[in-house]
């Protein structure tokens, strides 16, 4: 594969560089496979994208180096940021005043997930620092996978909505804590409280500032611009792109800034969010690229039977914990037990957000990074594929898909 690439690289001198050609072709193949997989095997399109990415990664595709850096890292951050901005914009804080049980569901599922994954890894004799980092990453679900599945199934309803909101809250906790932990890992032998808190405050403070600036800029623009226009959608993506680059450059967390921007904008500007329909192609392409990137990178992990059992145990513990957390706080939350079970299961996917967190840990601690990645990367690839299938199944079972023939499928 590498030899072939080298020969091709000498023969071809494209204006935009060989990686552009490689990624374009990979995207094209993924688009075809995703489409065919959905049409003939009734699999989510995302499974096709991941399969192509994983095969490319296993075959030695060199388009994405680990830990992520440069344009690859930026594109992944941008994809995650756009999704998190939109997801953050679904969270109306007043909902938690009317229904505090949803917040409790979120807190419980996050806490249970951390505890279950940490305990499982310790049972497998994994070092506490590694177990801690993997358990923190396990808190997140994938808003990107959920949004892709919801778009494919045209899902709408309490299970869909709650899974998305809980995944956004999980992202908020994990991004904050992992950014703080990564800051501490950079802090060397610091033991003073002020010294320990400083990196945390820098990351959070900068993310909040960048998030607020994005929110205020969009709030200002929306006073004169129509949210349903394409120009507003372009303004949105470019503002988030600039914010992403700035947050990362100044030492903040780009996805956290985008999530906070969405959340703040929703509170400052309670009018309907009309632009997702206009974002259309741009968001789809970014999402697809991030799914491919995740699977290409994750496939490069060191796959062996010893890791496999640890990963499978982690994934199982994580799923059980998420379901248990959502179920435990379900009474009084307005959904049935069946719906709560569905919500917990729909939060199984892992994808680009988890990869970013692992990348953050890998950059912060070159010693810890490879050990965390060895467990986290296979888990991410596994749960990108099976998580998407599970979430799709849950949405159909909950009767929340409005795709043609849905009623017929349900009998």
């Amino acid at each position: 594969m590498l030899d072939f690439m080298a020969i091709w690289g000498q023969w071809l001198r494209p204006s935009a560089g060989l990686p552009t050609v490689q990624w374009s072709l990979l995207l094209a193949i993924a688009a075809v496979v995703g489409h065919l997989g959905q049409r003939h095997l009734a699999l989510p399109k995302l499974v096709g994208y991941s399969a192509v990415g994983a095969l490319a990664g296993w075959a030695g595709f060199s388009g994405a180096a680990w830990p992520l850096q440069g344009i690859g890292l930026f594109l992944l951050e941008l994809g995650v940021s756009v999704v998190l901005f939109q997801t953050g914009g679904r969270i109306a804080l007043r909902w938690f005043r009317h229904n505090p049980m949803v917040l409790l569901q979120s807190l419980l599922e996050a806490a249970f997930t951390y505890a279950a994954v940490y305990a499982t890894l310790r049972w497998f004799d994994v070092r506490p620092a590694v177990a801690d980092a993997v358990a923190l990453v396990a808190i997140v679900s994938s808003p990107a996978v959920l949004s892709q599945v919801v778009s494919d199934t045209r899902g709408a309803g309490p299970v869909t909505e709650r899974a998305i909101v809980l995944s956004a809250l999980g992202a908020l906790y994990a991004l904050t804590v992992v950014a703080a932990r990564a800051g501490l890992l950079n802090g060397g032998g610091e033991t003073r409280l002020a010294g320990l808190l400083y990196p945390v405050l820098v990351v959070l403070g900068l993310s909040v500032v960048v998030g607020a600036v994005i929110a205020l800029a969009l709030r200002l623009a929306l006073q004169t611009m129509n949210p349903a226009s394409e120009n507003t959608a372009i303004l949105l993506v470019t503002t988030i792109a600039a914010g992403t680059a700035l947050a990362a450059h100044f030492g903040g967390s780009a996805p956290l800034a985008a999530l906070l921007a969405g959340l703040l904008l929703k509170q400052l500007h309670p009018r309907p969010w009309a632009w997702p329909r206009q974002l259309g192609m741009a968001a789809s392409l970014l999402l697809m690229l991030s799914f491919l990137l995740v699977s290409v990178v994750a496939a490069q992990a060191d796959w062996n039977p010893a890791v496999a059992s640890t990963v499978l145990a982690c994934v199982a513990a994580r799923s059980v914990a998420k379901v248990a957390g959502v179920l435990l706080a379900n009474p009084g939350s307005g959904t049935s037990w069946r719906q709560a079970l569905g919500t917990g299961l729909a939060m199984a996917p892992l994808s680009s957000l988890a990869l970013l967190l692992v990348s953050q840990v890998a950059v912060a601690s070159p010693a810890l990074g490879p050990r965390v990645a060895a467990i986290a990367l296979p888990a991410i690839l596994l749960m990108e594929v099976f998580g998407a299938i599970l979430a799709t199944f849950v949405i159909y079972q909950a009767g929340e898909s409005s795709r043609a023939g849905d009623e017929a499928l349900r009998g």
């Binding site: 914009g89 229904n99 709408a156 909505e161 909101v165 129509n226 309907p272 929340e400 043609a404």
Partner: protein, 383 residues
């Protein structure tokens, strides 16, 4: 897929029940929307479950698609009584919706929902109707107000029904709140009724003033196998034998419960006028202009032309409405509906109805989703 409704036991028409003259019952079909992009949201099951736990008057039931819900009052004596019960129901709905992070909205149509994305509510009757009517059942995601009027006897009910028919355009124009369909301004004030017209058993009830003749008609209709119960008739006004009422079904769901109660007061005052003053006897020929008047009211609302069924004279519907409201004023005061009728008269003079409010909001906001959001706040009495 069956070409007609499946055959079952021979259907019979229930005997006309007992009810006190001029009592009222109001049903409101309401929209459930998400609070993100304000599209319809399939939350009927969750709303029903939460509403069951509240101590409220009347009832809450599902409707054809899962983004709809229907609330109804109990038997009410007056418009004020209706308003009291609807206010309690509204407050309960808003509380449950807040808990689910959705909103409840009035209006005869959702301005931009896509009919093909709607899901039939999982109940045998709705599944059956969906199989029979195909896409029409999903296009029936429209929202109306039904007003039941108590009648002392079956014959009195038929007399009331045919008298009331002359005032169907008035009812349509006063309640019209469905100018937007599938994201477009239809140019109609009430586009909702066009969806109802697609059903084969829609339109007007047959002209008969004797219940025995109506029973004979029902028997002939059921013998064809096309009709199995009174529910299969989607008439503008139909007798409801089990309640002992007539049911007026042409109202779009208004944007507020205050308007819904005022419309019930209008119906009750009209009925009191018919009962006490007997201002005219209905004629079969009244129906010669019925469809034209109905169309005018749907299309132009309060700006419609009204053709007097007796003289054939064309006059502005607004003038006829104001004249009617003046004639009713005494009865309305007696029934405690004076303020409601006065409020309707002021709106008629100004030419304002809910359809106009929706168009004005859209002209200002240029975003139908924002119009829905403001409609939800208006329904919840938060602005």
């Amino acid at each position: 897929m069956p070409a007609t409704a499946p055959a079952g036991a021979a259907p019979t028409l229930q005997p006309f029940g007992e009810s006190r003259s001029l009592t009222l019952g109001v049903e409101l079909e309401l929209q459930l929307v998400n609070t993100h992009d304000y599209d319809l949201a399939p939350y009927a099951d969750e709303m029903l479950r939460l509403m069951q736990r509240l101590d409220l008057p009347g009832a809450v039931v599902p409707e054809m698609t899962s983004s709809m819900i229907e609330v109804s009052t109990g038997i009410c004596e007056s418009a004020a009584h209706v308003l009291g019960e609807l206010t309690q129901l509204r407050d309960g709905l808003v509380r449950c919706a807040d808990k689910l992070n959705i909103a409840v909205v009035g209006g005869g149509t959702h301005p931009f929902q896509q009919w093909h994305q709607q899901r039939i509510y999982d109940r045998p009757r709705f599944r059956e109707l969906s199989e029979l009517y195909g896409y029409l059942s999903k296009q029936f995601t429209v929202f109306g107000q039904h007003v039941h009027l108590g009648c002392p006897s079956a014959d009195a009910a038929l007399l009331m029904l045919h008298r009331m028919s002359r005032y169907i355009p008035h009812c349509i124009a006063l309640s019209a709140s469905s100018p937007f369909v599938q994201g477009q301004d239809t140019q109609f004030d009430s586009a909702r009724l066009n969806s109802v017209s697609a059903f084969p058993m829609s339109g007007r009830a047959p002209y008969t003033l004797a219940w025995t003749q109506f029973e004979a008609f029902f028997e002939r209709a059921t013998r064809t196998g096309v009709v199995r119960s009174m529910k299969d008739f989607y008439w503008d006004i139909r007798p409801k034998p089990e309640y002992g009422t007539i049911e007026i079904r042409v109202f779009d769901t208004p944007l507020t419960v205050e308007r819904a109660a005022a419309l019930a007061g209008f119906v009750q005052s009209l009925a009191a006028w018919f009962v006490h003053d007997e201002p005219f006897q209905p004629q079969e020929d009244d129906y010669l202009v019925y469809t034209y008047n109905r169309f005018q009211a749907c299309r132009f609302g309060l700006e419609a032309v009204y053709v007097d069924p007796v003289s054939g004279r064309h006059l502005p519907l607004r003038d006829h409405l104001l004249q009617t409201l003046r004639q009713l004023a005494g009865h309305a005061r007696h029934l405690g509906a004076g303020p409601a009728i006065q409020a309707l008269a002021e709106d008629v003079e100004l030419g304002t109805n809910d359809a106009r409010w929706l168009r004005q909001r859209q002209a200002q906001e240029r975003l139908l989703a924002e119009v829905v959001r403001q409609g939800a706040q208006r329904f919840a009495a938060r602005r």
